[in-house]
Symmetry: C2
Subunit: 168 residues, 2 copies
């Protein structure tokens, strides 16, 4: 199988955040799609190795922030290549907290979404969560960064835990 075929799938760049029991974390993600219009539902794939996974599982809620084209590589890297278990990703990060207690990164975000989990499916080393949108806000007119742009122009790498990681 030609793994380079996988490069033909288009994605945006997002941050997924969650909180539980006073702890909060976030990670950079690309595998996000809207799966239903009425009500608005999203599917996201999250690695079981990811610390935010535990916070999503325990709280039953998470947020999505769509990251704009102007976000610097370092900003995305902060969320992509550290674990929230030992590193406070929210220090020096602009964010808001929804009424449910879910934090959402607002810095370099074109839109933010608050979601409550309504279903999930185990796909091996990842779980696909279905989230019902409780709230959504558009924060800017700027276009969301494509994963291709992050990868090719910004020189961004893919974390080993990502569902789209290709071992080369």
């Amino acid at each position: 199988m030609d793994l380079t075929a996988l490069e033909k799938i288009q994605y945006g760049v997002y941050l997924i955040a969650a909180a539980f029991d006073g702890k909060k974390s976030a990670f950079a993600a690309n595998s996000i799609v809207q799966v239903s219009a009425q009500p608005v539902k999203f599917a996201v794939s999250v690695s079981k190795q990811n610390w935010t996974y535990e916070l999503i599982e325990k709280s039953g809620c998470f947020s999505i922030s769509a990251i704009t084209m102007s976000a610097p590589f370092e900003f995305i890297g902060k969320f992509g290549f550290h674990t929230g278990k030992t590193f406070d990703k929210f220090a020096n990060t602009e964010y808001k907290t929804f009424e449910s207690g879910v934090p959402a990164v607002t810095q370099y975000a074109g839109a933010i979404f608050e979601l409550k989990i309504s279903g999930k499916i185990d796909v091996g080393d990842h779980t696909v969560f279905i989230g019902d949108v409780l709230n959504m806000e558009r924060l800017s007119q700027e276009t969301t960064m494509t994963y291709e742009y992050y990868h090719k122009i910004k020189g961004g790498l893919t974390a080993k835990n990502a569902p789209t990681y290709i071992k080369r």
Copy 2:
């Protein structure tokens, strides 16, 4: 809730195809993501109103074709705004048939994927299918069309059955 926030999610343009009992069909889709790397799995959201939905359900297999930037609007429209129940979308369309019997559109395709369903989750008017990749082929170097490009530059509309359809 500000529905325009939904415009901040990035997608590509794809065709999903399936066949059962001598009938085959395909439809234009954007809600596709890779959800696992080893093995490679995809999630796709399919409307229960869609005729291809029945063929996917009955055969347990489907294909994805990533559509290139050079595809004309009319080509995509052929798959997006007709039902395969009464209209042969494969007439005058270049495609190949995988060993499993699944057809995949090769015309204007940068890559094609053959998938076998390994899970699904009901999200109301849509079902999210998890597909394990059996085969994948890269057919060109061309970039996959983004949904934003299809929408803004090509003037493409969203079908009412689509998970990302917004009633205005």
